[in-house]
Amino acid sequence: MADGVDIRAGWLNGATLAENFADVHRPLDLAGALVEANRCYFCYDAPCIAACPTGIDVPGFIRAIATGNVTGAAMTILTENILGGSCARVCPTEILCQGACVRSNDNSRGDRSVEIGLLQRYATDHVNTATRHPFARAPATGRTVAVVGAGPAGLACAHGLARQGHDVIVFEARGKPGGLNEYGIAAYKLPDDFAQEEISFITAIGGIEIHPDRALGRELSLTQLRMDFDAVFLGLGQDGARALEVPGAGLAGVQNAVDYIAALRQADDLANLPVGRRIVVIGGGNTAIDIAVQTKRLGAEDVTICYRRGPAQMGATPHEQDFARINGVRVKHWLRPLRLDGLDGAVTAAVFATVAQGDGGSLMDTGDEQSIPCDMVFKAVGQSFVPLSDGGPDIAAGRIAVGPNGQTSLPDVWAGGDCVAGDDLTVQAVQDGKLAARAMDLFLQNLET
């Protein structure tokens, strides 16, 4: 089948797959954690704290690790970020805390930042939360809150509210809670069912019920939720994948990267997941990196990311771009998708126009074309928030408009995470949920009936 479409499952044996999808970062052991913790300078007014969207006292928790006070370290983290465990694994620390570390700034020639992510993971992995939840729940207030969306924003909000004694029901459109932690993050970043374990930990505080397979506009309406609950938090994701408007986009073998990643995350056995021999990924963000590396690790022979601009404009961080390269993914720049060619209804090649940056930054075709033979094409050109159809809050620039603490145009409705403006990061979603919970708690305390 030299020229035919080659999509198969089981390119690699089970042992190789297990290795390829195991923890991408080796966790620190005690000795490693101590060495790394002792590299922290314990800066005054430390820049890493300001760089963390949830404002974790980074030097504080690192010092606690160094002194053997791991429980204190974990509490410092979890107090600001109840999803500190998954953030330790998925945060792009190179552009957040570690990017701000003084050991990596312009003057620290040849030095490297403290491995804050790995230390946070050490602390959250080694605190014993199995026997006792680290936070006590306040006496029940009798107030009820609906949280829509069981992703990081919704879970952080639910935990904050439950801690204050309110009863929370979390509605989740999909079959399992977790949002992107369960369906979107690359498998090797959150292996071993970590997302569900973390949710068990979060809900162990009590007062949180999770109802899966309940979606706004499907089983639920916001109007009804507002009648049934004292307040509502919308922690909705970005369910709309941006379309790729090129001829051939409807061919078999062409799909959204996020859908394939979700299927991969839910697969019982990766050896049964079909993948093409040759893959083309269109896009330049972290999703493009994630789909490229994961298909490569499933056994695809040849994986190419094609992006319409240069490395500096890619949404994927330089760290992620390097990660793709060391996984054997080819990254090609300055390619604008022209069309997808096919045979018998299945894609066989992705065709691009070569572009260059003109004056003022606009892209201009150079007149050359490149055709890259492939068995599968993944679209990773971005997701978007799909606004509510009925009685939803005001929208600004395609997302829910919110005030500083996530309050929407509706007095009893807050929102946070990917459905509001801001960085589309797990850690930002947690902060949104945390701040909204504080504001909602005040609101609920002041309710008259």
Binding site: L34, V35, A37, N38, Y41, F42, C43, Y44, D45, A46, P47, A50, A66, A100, V102, R103, N105, N107, S108
Partner: protein, 424 residues
């Protein structure tokens, strides 16, 4: 290439790096390995009278500082636990095999003339270059009236030293304990007794740590702990001071000094020699890393001496003693002010918070975030050096002398001193 050959109390060795009387020098096997590695001499682990002592298991404790292991180390081990005859035979063989290396033998027997006479004769028979009287060990043996129990009583130090000097022609080194209020008392006693050299420091009395689960001191022997002798890099400053005290003391003059205490590098050794030690002895450094550390000690000292133009050890021996003065002789008019090199500053803010919280509020923060700067408020700076010490960047904060035009003035001359006398 500098000449590292060393002579102390008439004993020659190819370099000044000796292994101290301790576990690394307990057997011919170890000493042979040490000499193969390049060590210039050894002081054989302390011999006593038969029957030999019995040691416990669990003998060493250690402290780790910021991930650096064995910064401080302690032990509750006693003297050699092998029969005297076995040690003497091995010493004889080693000295025969390694004639160019120094072999001293450490001794500890009860304070009775006959005991010393007997053991000195036996050691003399081995061909060893000299003896070191162990008046230092602060644990185990001291409770039996030996070790530091002798070293803490100057009259005993002098008496036993005098006996030994009268009983043997071998050079006699007296190993001193730091567990005294004034090191000059035992040093002068050793001098009075005719000692050729003093070796110091022996270990500092210590409890190295407490096991908070079992509520017992470490190292723990079946649930119990005992005080032990503390050594390693952490004790070096104490040792330097005590060595310098003796080196600067006119009444102790004429005695050689073998420096001991936390020495792990050529730099440590150079510091001891500059403060008056003729040679140095190492234990913990070798116990931590093995005998190979002597390679860099030799090469490093050589390179440093070449760089400074010192051809022989004598060229910088006691060189720092001239600059060791009493506090009252320091120049009270001398002024320093901190200077922060903004190109090197990584904005960690440690200088600011240290000065702000604990010193003189002399470093201000200008701005916020990644662009913040730290600047010295000159009139508030007392030149204490704290900021330069906490700064993690080499050479970023320096202490610059201020040209204030004022002459040398010491506290004795300072009019602010109620007891001042007029400047001469």
């Amino acid at each position: 290439m500098a000449d590292l050959r060393c002579e102390i109390a008439g004993i020659k060795s190819p370099n000044p790096f000796w292994l101290a009387s301790a576990p690394p020098t307990d057997k011919a096997y170890n000493v042979d390995r040490a000499f193969k590695a390049g060590w210039g001499g050894v002081v054989w682990k302390t011999l006593g009278e038969d029957p030999p002592v019995v040691n416990t298991t669990s003998r060493y404790g250690a402290i780790t500082v910021n991930g650096q292991r064995m910064v401080g180390f302690n032990n509750i081990e006693l003297i050699t636990d092998r029969p005297l005859g076995v040690n003497l035979a091995e010493i004889k063989q080693i000295k025969r095999d390694w004639p160019d290396r120094a072999v001293l033998v450490s001794l500890m027997v009860p304070c009775e003339e006959a005991s010393w006479k007997k053991i000195l004769a036996a050691v003399e028979d081995t061909g060893a270059d000299g003896v070191e009287l162990n008046f230092g060990c602060p644990h185990g043996m001291s409770e039996r009236g030996m070790g530091s129990a002798v070293g803490q009583v100057p009259e005993y130090v002098e008496m036993v030293t005098r006996w030994c000097k009268s009983m043997t022609a071998m050079p006699v080194f007296v190993k001193l304990t730091p567990n005294v209020t004034n090191i000059l008392a035992p040093a002068r006693a050793a001098r009075a007794g005719g000692a050729d050299a003093v070796s110091l420091i022996n270990t500092v009395n210590s409890i190295v740590s407490v096991d908070l689960d079992r509520m017992a001191p470490n190292p723990m022997v079946d649930g119990k702990g005992s005080h032990g002798g503390y050594c390693g890099p952490a004790v070096k400053p104490i040792a330097l001071h005590l060595v310098a005290e003796i080196a600067a003391d006119p009444e102790s003059a004429g005695m050689a000094i073998s420096g001991i205490g936390g020495i792990e590098t050529w730099r440590d050794a150079a510091e001891f020699i500059s403060l008056g030690a003729q040679n140095i002895q190492v234990c913990t450094g070798a116990m931590h890393y093995g005998f190979k550390i002597v390679d860099d000690m030799i090469a490093g000292l050589n390179n440093w001496m070449d760089g400074k133009g010192y051809a022989r050890l004598q060229d910088f021996h006691r060189a720092a003693i001239a600059n060791l003065v009493d506090w009252q002789d320091l120049n009270i008019n001398f002024e320093l002010v901190a200077r922060i090199d903004q190109d090197k500053c990584i904005k960690c803010g440690l200088c600011h918070v240290a000065c702000e919280d604990t010193a003189h509020q002399a470093i201000s923060v200008i701005g916020q975030g990644p662009g913040r700067r730290f600047e010295v408020i000159d009139p508030e700076c007392v030149g204490c050096n704290l900021c330069a010490h906490v700064c993690p960047v080499e050479g970023c904060i320096t202490m610059a002398p201020v040209d204030n035009g004022k002459p040398y003035l010491n506290w004795a001359q300072d009019p602010r001193n109620p007891h001042a006398r007029a400047a001469e």
